[in-house]
Symmetry: C2
Subunit: 237 residues, 2 copies
């Protein structure tokens, strides 16, 4: 599937709201829309405006084409945009995902970044493909606003030597007690094994979400941990 | 499926680690284990100790029986424990889930509660069933430690009139700027519609995770929002 997306240089986005957002967004090249008769009727002017071809089909056909279980009224084929890393001085905070495997986690993390005004979520080469339909769906439209280029952490740090690199670990400084130095890069590791040994050496400051004295869980979900750390970094001081 | 679980008064837990945790945990009544030959050989003493019947089967049979996509080496049939609400004065913090529908979200929220030492996560009658296999899997074992009884918010408040009820809303006081009054109950609403109108009237203090000025997302995932608020409530002051 990823190979197909790379060869054709196109990806799929499904769901009424996401499709409408893509069509309204001038920076995205929508090519064709497949949708139920009802959706087509309601959104014909929007499609005409965006100059996309419109194909009417059934919900069953849509489910088959999208590969998603949730029924959708519409899906759109989009030209994959240029997604190379932007090495301009950017913002006070960026994320680096080191081997995130679950599409739901990646999508949810892009949504978190979009909430906290974090414009770039860099991905290691072994992180799940950005244009996986489950990722796109879990972003709830945030893939339209947050950039997510693929790059190694060492290359990223070479280009941003001034960034302080924070790593989310099970043992580290309490994220609510550190003084965050901006610009900062927050590294989130793989769901099972955490940050890879190679990238651990590139972390300047290991940070941690403290487990309560009565807590029993071994870890937090990767997206939940990302949300907590972003909220801690962005909170008013 | 839920009906079956209620009639038989039993539920399924799948996965090597979870099955071993159930068997080691004396409070849980494991009835029988189905597992691959390799798993059976390795864990025979544990099964004998827990006095459960052990059936060898293939990974395909396990996948079919569990209804889960991820391959598992073992699954266990467990007697559903008594799960009524405990009205003893409990702790400084409890959660109330008002209509959470996604099994992954419920499981992740139980894992969050387990991390932050929150012993009770109450569920509204229209929240997803606790013993749904996808919920159990997403808890990563936390269902063994966190209680999750079903109860209406009005009944819960009648029994705990001294609890301050916080509601996670899109408009409310910044969660990092309030002074939390313990004991507190945190209400998390449904993924799409938020807290129901009926329960909104029972909220004492509406709280919110502030969106960054440059943020574009309309909301955060329910489990991520729960994690951020729990972290804010539990952080050192």
């Amino acid at each position: 599937m990823k190979k197909n997306r790379e060869v054709t240089n196109r990806f799929l986005a499904a769901g009424d709201k996401i499709v409408r957002e893509v069509l309204e967004h001038q920076n995205w090249n929508a090519e064709l829309v497949m949708a139920t008769a009802e959706w087509c009727e309601k959104n014909a002017p929007l499609c005409e405006n965006a100059q996309v071809e419109l194909f009417t089909c059934s919900e069953t056909e849509l489910a088959q084409a999208s590969g998603l279980k949730t029924p959708n009224q519409a899906m759109v084929v989009v030209l994959t945009p240029d997604n190379t890393a932007d090495f301009q001085p950017l913002d006070t905070l960026a994320l680096y995902l080191d081997g995130i495997q679950d599409p739901g986690n990646l999508g949810t993390i892009l949504r978190i970044a979009d909430w906290f005004g974090i414009p770039q979520v860099f991905r290691s080469p072994d992180t799940v493909d950005l244009y996986n339909p489950k990722v796109i769906q879990a972003t709830m439209g945030s893939f339209l606003r947050v950039k997510s280029p693929e790059i190694s952490l060492s290359d990223l740090k070479k280009n941003h030597p001034q960034w302080t690199t924070y790593g989310a670990l099970l043992e580290g400084m309490d994220v609510f007690q550190i003084e965050v130095k901006a610009p900062s890069l927050l590294v989130i590791g793989n769901e099972g094994r955490g940050i890879s040994i190679r990238n651990l050496t590139l972390v300047d400051c290991p940070i941690s979400i403290l487990r309560h004295a009565n807590g029993g869980a071994e870890s937090l979900n990767a997206a939940v941990a990302t949300g907590i750390i972003c909220a801690a970094f962005r909170r008013p001081t």
